[in-house]
């Protein structure tokens, strides 16, 4: 039997829980099976076994086998949740990589402008956080060797993090059925020692994500309205990222990745207070990779100041 590598910091912890539950299940299965075979043999029709005083209820016994599994379940639940919480929260120092899924491929953008298709290069022993969205239907980013999986949804950013503990090339699968070529939406994650990884980054360097965003900001005409010198009444975007702003309907929203994403693609959804809903939608005109680049740019011009708010 082939065995799956434990190639991330959580993999061995996941396997320990798995094998603990497997052991417990084996005890239950063998226990019940043994009792069934024992009774089935001893009390088979025609046997001379003693059948007197056969009770058909025993509240004590029944409470025991109600409460005992319940107690065990609570223990497993607590164990599992502790691990799940660690798997759900990325460490502060994780490097962000941006993934866009589409029928039927994975596109990857690194902060430094490196772009990949169906491959993801990551450094060994350093946490990587994937910020993911989909261009079309729901996909799921699954690396069995890391024991991590996260659905990738259109119109929403989901995150997944891992810290590789082995170098090598590992399978990347799409785990959520996404149409005709679902089974071909596979790729690989390449884990490199940090020196090799830096080398790889330098070889594939391109315009940085936020620089590309700045270009797009001009080419798509965003600056025509959102520039301080523009004659059109549109929100200024400098220093905006991370702040909480009022909306026309009286509610407040935090300017984060999701809000910027939706403001570009669905501008009529949450209109900032004091502005006319005149922004045209860019849905269908630009892809999710470009939206990510624009967000990166708005973070740069809007960042730094927001910690003070």
């Amino acid at each position: 039997m082939m065995s799956l590598p434990q190639a991330s910091s959580v993999a061995s912890r996941v396997d320990t829980l798995f094998y603990a539950m497997l052991g417990l299940s084996a005890i239950v299965v063998i226990g019940v099976f043994t009792v069934i075979v024992w009774f089935a043999t001893k009390y088979r029709h025609g046997s001379k076994a003693d059948r007197t005083r056969a009770d058909s209820k025993s509240p004590g016994l029944e409470m025991t086998w109600t409460l005992l599994p319940f107690g065990l379940f609570i223990v497993i639940f607590a164990w599992s949740i502790a691990l799940f919480a660690d798997m759900s929260r990325a460490p502060e120092n994780a490097t962000s990589v941006y993934v866009v899924a589409k029928q039927w491929m994975w596109t990857v953008q690194h902060e430094g402008g490196q772009r990949e298709l169906n491959t993801l290069h990551v450094p060994l022993h350093q946490p990587t956080r994937l910020v993911m969205t989909s261009q079309d239907v729901i996909h799921s980013f699954y690396v069995p060797a890391f024991r991590v999986k996260q659905d990738v949804l259109p119109g929403r950013f989901t995150q997944l993090w891992f810290e590789p503990t082995q170098t090598g090339t590992f399978d990347l699968f799409c785990a959520e059925f996404c149409g005709t070529d679902h089974s071909r939406m596979i790729g690989s994650v390449v884990v490199m020692v940090p020196a090799d990884y830096s080398h790889w980054l330098n070889e594939h360097v391109g315009p940085g994500l936020s620089e590309r965003g700045a270009d797009l900001f001009r080419h798509l005409g965003c600056s025509g309205c959102h520039d301080p010198h523009s004659g059109i009444h549109a929100p200024l975007l400098e220093g905006l990222y991370g702040r909480t702003v009022p909306l026309q309907d009286g509610t407040w929203v935090r300017v984060d990745d999701r809000y910027i994403h939706d403001s570009i693609l669905l501008p009529a959804k949450e209109v900032a207070a004091g502005y006319e809903p005149i922004m045209p939608t860019y849905s269908g005109r630009i892809g999710e990779e470009d939206v990510l680049a624009l967000i990166a740019y708005l973070k740069v011009i809007g960042g730094a100041s927001h910690e003070q708010h």
């Binding site: 082939m2 912890r13 996941v14 829980l17 539950m21 299965v29 019940v32 099976f33 009774f39 089935a40 009390y43 088979r44 029709h45 025609g46 059948r51 056969a54 058909s56 209820k57 025993s58 029944e62 086998w65 109600t66 599994p69 319940f70 379940f73 497993i76 639940f77 164990w79 599992s80 949740i81 799940f84 919480a85 798997m87 759900s88 239907v137 729901i138 799921s140 069995p144 060797a145 024991r147 991590v148 999986k149 659905d151 259109p154 119109g155 929403r156 989901t158 699968f173 799409c174 785990a175 059925f177 149409g179 005709t180 070529d181 679902h182 089974s183 071909r184 596979i186 693609l265 959804k269």
Partner: protein, 545 residues
């Protein structure tokens, strides 16, 4: 032939030889009289015929899937055809076989007999349910002939609403219609159990099969409308472009998953609760003892039915749902497993000091207990969030739910069909063939689905038309098992069909079993009971041997 005459008890039963007169089968001959019947027993037969046809149609799709997966490359079908095959398999098996299987056949036939009633509360509604079922089925078959649907039985949005180029609407309409058949059957059973119990048949004297029909009817009535609503919303988004689930239109795809699993998780209990009811009847009759812990068995049926409504989010641990929601759904999923564990322990304890015979029904029942236990325990792995992250959407999940729905529900269904066959048809079947089929079914099933647990843990995602070569060995094992499994499903078609014409005539109670259904002739007369029976004791009152 001694095994036939000996009955489950091992004691010879009286053997009638002449054809009984005035039974529900012979009175009013002619196809039209069957198609317009209000008799719950005849309606049960109508369902049984249709359900058997759907089972083998869905099974054919499964056979194609297993054949394709023998090799890693997609060499038998195109990706599109493969996707349509597993969608068809899922849709047909879930909605046209598993959900209606036990309630509409055994339930329709036995429920009035077990509580001493003349018929169900609304006989015309009962017939209408069958027509709704058939109409929904025709839509699904038409969809297949028109070119099929490729969304999976789960219809996840926005793929199903905005991206799939197949016959989503036609299929959704079919499932929508069959849903009303479920709702009406549930309504009918609840009213029947509340109002038509004979004198002395108090709630805590009801056979567990009746309790399971009560629990399942509640779930069918309360969950199915949510499915109908969800399917209607899919149709609205697909036809009119209303933004409900597609984010490009301002909708939310996770909303669909919440709606869908709010129905579809309870739907699993629609499949398994009746199976638990059947198995309780089979075991007590074969062991000749009262069920161990009757009260706990009743509470666990109702506990499963109620808590089953609160666990749907465990299908969504990696969907992007909040971590805190996942924690709550995880603990509730562990809690719903407690009553199932209690049932397994109580069935086992029922064997203690029994007088056990191993006829075909008992073999099916024991097979059920074993496979249900494996399916249930692996369900706990999936309830554990940290493990589910790795296992969800892999073959581990496929194996898990097949152990419950096929290993569990189908074993119990077939066990029930054998146990009540003499009552329904008035004929005995070949005990040797029946035992043989039950045994190879157990082994064929394990060979088919156990390798899929391993495939899932190794990381093979489900719904893959092609797969990396490291998964081939286990896939070949699984496909090999499926040929044995297919044979074991075809065998009963042969020997049960044979018994319809050539089987020895059955007495009123060939198993010497307890229960009101065994007090009437086999097959029963149209009006069920000559005199209204009066009940003076709880169920399974087998005397000490």
């Amino acid at each position: 032939m001694s095994s036939i005459d000996a009955g489950i008890s091992g004691l010879p039963a009286e053997k009638p030889t002449t054809a009984p007169e005035g039974t529900y089968l012979t009175e009013q001959p002619g196809v039209l009289s069957w198609l317009t019947t209000h008799d719950h027993k005849r309606i049960a037969i109508l369902y049984a015929v249709a359900i058997t046809a759907f089972f083998f149609t869905g099974g054919l799709a499964a056979a194609l899937i297993r054949l394709e997966l023998v090799t890693p490359a997609g060499d038998l079908m195109t990706a599109e055809s493969y996707n349509k095959a597993f969608t068809f398999h899922g849709v047909v098996m879930v909605w046209f076989f598993l959900i209606p299987s036990i309630p509409t056949t055994l339930g329709n036939f036995l429920l009035p007999l077990m509580i001493g009633a003349r018929d169900v509360a609304f006989p015309r509604l009962n017939l209408m349910s069958w027509y709704l079922y058939i109409t929904g089925g025709i839509f699904t078959i038409v969809c297949l002939l028109a070119g099929g649907v490729d969304t999976g039985w789960t219809f996840y949005t926005p793929f199903s609403t905005m991206f799939s180029n197949s016959h989503v609407i036609l299929t959704v309409v079919g499932v929508f219609i069959v849903g009303f058949s479920s709702i009406l059957t549930g309504l009918n059973f609840i009213v029947t159990i509340h109002t038509m119990r004979t004198r002395g048949m108090t709630w805590f004297r009801l056979p567990l099969f009746v309790w399971s029909m009560y629990g399942v009817s509640l779930v069918m009535m309360l969950a199915t409308p949510v499915l109908a609503m969800t399917l209607a919303l899919i149709a609205l988004e697909r036809l009119l472009g209303l933004g409900i689930f597609d984010p490009a239109l301002g909708g939310d795809p996770l909303l669909f998953q919440h709606f869908f699993w709010f129905y579809s998780h309870p739907a699993v209990y629609i499949m398994i609760l009746p199976a638990m009811g059947v198995v309780s009847e089979l075991i007590t009759a074969s062991v000749r003892r009262r069920i161990f812990g009757y009260d706990f068995m009743v509470y666990s049926i109702m506990g499963i039915a109620v808590i089953g409504f609160l666990v749907w989010g465990h299908h969504m641990f990696v969907s992007g749902q909040s971590m805190y929601a996942s924690i709550v759904f995880s603990i509730l999923s562990f809690i719903v497993a407690v009553p199932s564990a209690v049932k397994v322990f109580n069935w086992t304890a029922t064997l203690y000091k029994g007088d056990i015979s191993f006829g075909a029904p008992m073999l099916y029942a024991l097979g059920f207990v074993g496979l249900f236990m494996l399916g249930g325990l692996t369900g706990l792995f999936l309830a554990a969030t940290a493990l589910d992250v790795n296992l969800t959407d892999t073959y581990f999940v496929v194996a898990h739910f097949h152990y419950i729905m096929v290993g569990g529900a189908v074993m119990a269904y077939l066990g029930g069909i054998h146990f009540w066959w003499p009552k329904v048809t008035g004929r005995m079947y070949s005990e040797g063939w029946a035992r043989f089929a039950a045994i190879i079914m157990f082994f064929g099933f394990n060979l088919t689905f156990f390798p899929q647990y391993l495939l899932g843990y190794e990381g093979m995602p489900r719904r893959y038309h092609e797969y990396p070569p490291q998964f081939q060995v286990l896939n070949v094992l699984s496909s090999a098992g499926s040929t044995i499994l297919a044979l074991s499903y075809l065998l009963p078609l042969g020997y049960l069909g044979w018994s319809l014409r050539y089987g020895p005539r059955a007495s009123a109670n060939p198993w010497r079993a307890q229960g009101l259904e065994w007090t009437v002739p086999s097959p029963p007369p149209v009006h069920n009971f000559d005199e209204t029976p009066v009940v003076t004791d709880g169920p399974y009152a087998y005397e000490a041997p």
